[in-house]
Symmetry: C2
Subunit: 586 residues, 2 copies
């Protein structure tokens, strides 16, 4: 009676039927694995984040019913929104008991609520004060499959460790610790989480869990959501941590069950999801960490980033019923890496690449594009755009000749989008964009041109990281005896949009290593102009970079969703006024 | 000593210098008008909504400094974010005293804080719990230019009237009323507001103000923001209401000063802003309402809608430094009305229309398009797209012939976007889209085609309302002796995208009156499939409409901002998960 299963679940937001079936299947795997009880992730029945669906009472009620009627072969704590008693009160983010004892709705389900979230994160990608009423009492599940469990929901555990951007007035972990001091005999405290991924997030989450276990004096078990929903990624890596700091960590980017023996870290096991379409990206080792190991050693930053980006696209497509994608291949580094991502996510047979040279394209660009397509084994086509270009010039020639030169450059990018979208629409595929975070931040991209597409796999990846990902994809290919997909020429030539003769990106932008450093310090680190100059960056460059960043806010609002892999992405977590925010920073 | 000026201000979000200068100028006009004190709108120094700028401490501190150093010739209560004492606490949404007594920062400004917002709306377009700490004490400004004023901020007044979607645990109006009962002698209670517009919102706001005045037993004065910021519109219509229900209402869509004599509604006056670029759309009468008048009589719904849409585009352009726009003219009702809006907002000389007939366009479409352009006096050009179309077919012919027919239709819309964007980029203009809410809701529009543009003036206007706006623009033209810009042919012909031979919108969609009724009942009224069928709508039609609505969520996330004129728009107030929300409603 010492085994608890953490159901590391990849829900589809809003798909209550699918989520219910999948949770039940994971619970069966947990039972087969010897577990006595199961713990789901946060809001598992409806998936996280449900956003404004939570403002529809109908949706909240159906979610609650789905949780209460979940047919599981062992007792499971299930995350679900819980409707309020009256129309003018928001629901709570709660946890209910499901299991063999419960088959039908009897009208007496209130007693099955074991916890309701107390700390509602409302910053960055989180908006929970918008959707939920906070509660002020920690959860306790007594006589639950033989256990007594403290029950918390995600953020509830973070105040204790001081790991939230602002302070809450209560501390659920301390609350449970106080019960223990008063003599309540708690076997473990569980935490139902949907804790999003970003680079290096895991070490923070581990620190939070260790802090909780130390304060509580008993094991702390965190079941984390895995997979992508919209632009949010969840890495999984469910955890069990003991008060002495030892930890067991489930794999990232895998759906499955972490079977935790609360008396023995060594006895813990990982059982991968048996579902045919279950997310399973990258290696899947179960990690055992000693107290002295802060988890940084288990992270290979580029491997992590690459798997995250692949998982994001794979899950976005599966959950949106998109079975194939199409993209432009320019011979440059971004489109080469985007193609690698797409093939890793969907398989080469589901990816079509279009090489679309213009009058300004060099032969090496065409060669490099074809090299990537052939090495990856994907379908590809070559279409010259010059005839179309000439045809449009026949209509627009005078306007272009007398106007800003960017108009003529954009035209080529938009002609390519026309072809990519033509393929996508004709074949019921999704176009993906190839732009990276550095160029998008600077507006070095064309609206309705290279920004056209349903998903931007590299939209939160800085340019220098794109190069590192290219190396990683090449290493992976070579390790398995395949041709490296990104050619040496693509890796080493000066980046160019090739929209004007002899153009290079560095005609308009600082060198990418410098640009990335400035952007990262500003966007992720919060440094302003003065701070950046004080750190030694060139003043004129800093001013240029930050001005372009602000001026292109308009464009970014029309960007397709991009998997969030950095601590601050453009999108939900970078929600600035669209017009007119240009002056205060001067 | 009975005169208070409500500064009905049109701030530019983030532009602290501009806002400070403009507020000072309005305060000068207030003084000239005989006022003893001035009351600004909510967060006047930084504009509303500042969104995630509020998460930058630097921005909050500069805003506070701007408020404290505002040079006004009479005492003014100024709305500003107020930084918290420590880094881990959010700022408050507050009000400080400014005026002749204060010239420099002395380090002793804490005493100048007179109120901090208590009720933080966090629903629909509001996200204030994300940005602010709520306070639990109502504001009082004693010895303020000879007055003692209760001070509240926007939502603070709404709980008392029961006009919020969910309940708050405190009631600031009741709090001030209790002070009055305890003998505090309050002359009036003021409310600094940024209360957004939507159709029929004013009657609700008036009811809230009357409720407050009745509970308080003294005049209640509400200074409301005016103008557009991003997709939010603020109609102004600042109010003074007496306990007996009499009310004085400032004009909508005008910047200026409402001079309120708290002893005499009849003595109140409106002074329009003297700033050269001040917002001034539509008629500007000062309204006096008797207690029995609920305000509905002062509303002409279509006049209101038309002015709102014009104000939105005008302000968006001014605040984004956009001086001219370009749009496609199809001869259809949407582009005709969009052209009318653009000309009303910016002047005919700032608007360029492109008629771009395809092989499927009828001669009457071309004639109708040219009629609108000529009647409005705007620049226009005619470009056949057939040669370009043929040229692209040379590249993509086989893909189009063997693929989904929508691909070939979209191609034409995207060729037009290519030309519109070519003009826009070459001439540093902004493209505007012409689509309406009904078709956008159904995905009856083309990504990177007719959806291409920086602003969607009709994006929150239902199709039947577009017809009504057309009639209104025609009436306005005829009343001033000009040619009606929307031809009878445009008004009466069956709507058609003209992307395939003999195509009409009703091949794919239900009749627009029925479609609009279903959409409005669902989006604004919250009715689900069952509810709609119970109301007598055809079941198959309802299912089709709601399925198309959900399936096209992806597209709408890439829509440009549209002025919010209905109680629920797409955008901030309709923030649903992007992928995978398709199943729960089945």
């Amino acid at each position: 009676m010492t085994t608890i299963a953490l159901l590391q679940f990849d829900p589809t937001v809003g798909d209550l039927d699918h989520n219910g079936r999948r949770l039940a299947a994971l619970a069966h795997q947990a039972l087969s694995g010897g577990a006595k009880v199961g713990i789901s992730t946060e809001l598992a029945v409806c998936g996280y984040p449900p956003r404004d669906l939570l403002m529809e009472r109908d949706f909240v009620e159906r979610s609650m019913t789905a949780a209460l009627t979940l047919e599981t072969p062992l007792p499971v704590l299930v995350g679900t929104p819980i409707p309020a008693e009256d129309e003018r009160t928001l629901p709570t983010n709660g946890v209910v008991r499901a299991g063999p004892a419960f088959a039908t709705i009897t009208g007496d389900e209130h007693g099955r609520i074991v916890a309701e979230k107390q700390l509602l994160p409302t910053y960055d990608v989180f908006d929970e004060a918008r959707y939920f009423t906070p509660k002020n009492r920690s959860g306790l599940a007594r006589s639950f499959g033989g256990f007594t469990l403290g029950v918390t929901v995600c953020e509830d555990a973070w105040q204790s460790a001081g790991m939230t951007p602002s302070s809450y007035t209560q501390d659920p972990i301390e609350h449970i610790a106080e019960w223990c001091r008063q003599g309540v005999d708690i076997d473990a405290t569980v935490n139902l989480s949907a804790s999003p991924f970003h680079s290096e997030k895991f070490t923070t989450r581990l620190a939070v869990a260790r802090h909780a276990a130390a304060v509580l004096g008993h094991p702390f078990l965190l079941a984390n959501q895995v997979g992508g929903n919209d632009d949010l990624l969840f890495d999984g890596r469910s955890l069990a941590v003991w008060p002495d700091g030892r930890a067991v960590v489930a794999p990232s980017w895998q759906e499955g069950v972490l079977i935790v023996d609360i008396t023995s870290p060594e006895a813990c096991r990982w059982v991968a999801s048996e579902a045919e379409d279950a997310l399973a990206i990258g290696e899947a080792p179960l990690m055992h960490l000693e107290a002295s190991d802060d988890g940084t050693g288990m992270m290979d930053a580029i491997e992590e980033l690459t798997n995250a980006v692949v998982a994001g696209l794979a899950d976005y497509c599966r959950k949106s019923s998109i079975t194939s994608v199409v993209l432009g291949l320019s011979g440059g580094i971004d489109s080469a890496v985007a193609a690698c991502v797409a093939v890793a996510a969907l398989g080469a047979e589901k990816v079509t690449g279009l090489a679309m040279p213009s009058r300004h394209s060099s032969q090496h660009s065409i060669d490099d594009a074809l090299h990537t397509a052939e090495a990856l084994g994907m379908t590809h086509h070559l279409h010259e755009i010059d005839a179309m270009h000439t045809s449009v010039e026949g209509v627009l020639g005078e306007v272009l000749a007398n106007g800003h030169p960017v108009a003529a450059e954009n035209l080529q990018a938009r002609l390519r989008a026309l072809l990519v979208m033509g393929y996508a629409n004709a074949n019921a595929s999704m176009a993906i964009t190839t732009g990276n975070k550095s160029e998008i931040a600077q507006g070095y991209c064309t609206l309705y041109g290279d920004m056209a597409g349903g998903y931007a796999p590299l939209g939160d990846v800085y340019k220098m990281e794109v190069y590192a990902m290219a190396e990683r994809f090449n290493q992976r290919a070579e390790a398995s005896g395949r041709t490296a997909p990104v050619s040496t020429s693509t890796m080493t030539k000066p980046p160019s949009a090739e929209l004007a003769p002899d153009q290079t990106d560095q005609d308009s932008l600082p060198p990418y290593d410098e640009l990335d450093a400035i952007l990262r310090s500003h966007i992720e680190g919060g440094l302003n102009t003065d701070d950046l100059i004080a750190r030694g960056f060139d003043a004129a460059t800093v001013m240029d970079v930050l001005q372009r960043l602000e001026r292109n806010e308009h464009k970014r609002w029309q960007m397709p969703p991009a998997p969030r892999v950095s601590p601050r992405a453009f999108g939900q977590g970078w929600r600035r006024p669209l017009a007119s925010n240009h002056d205060w920073r001067r």
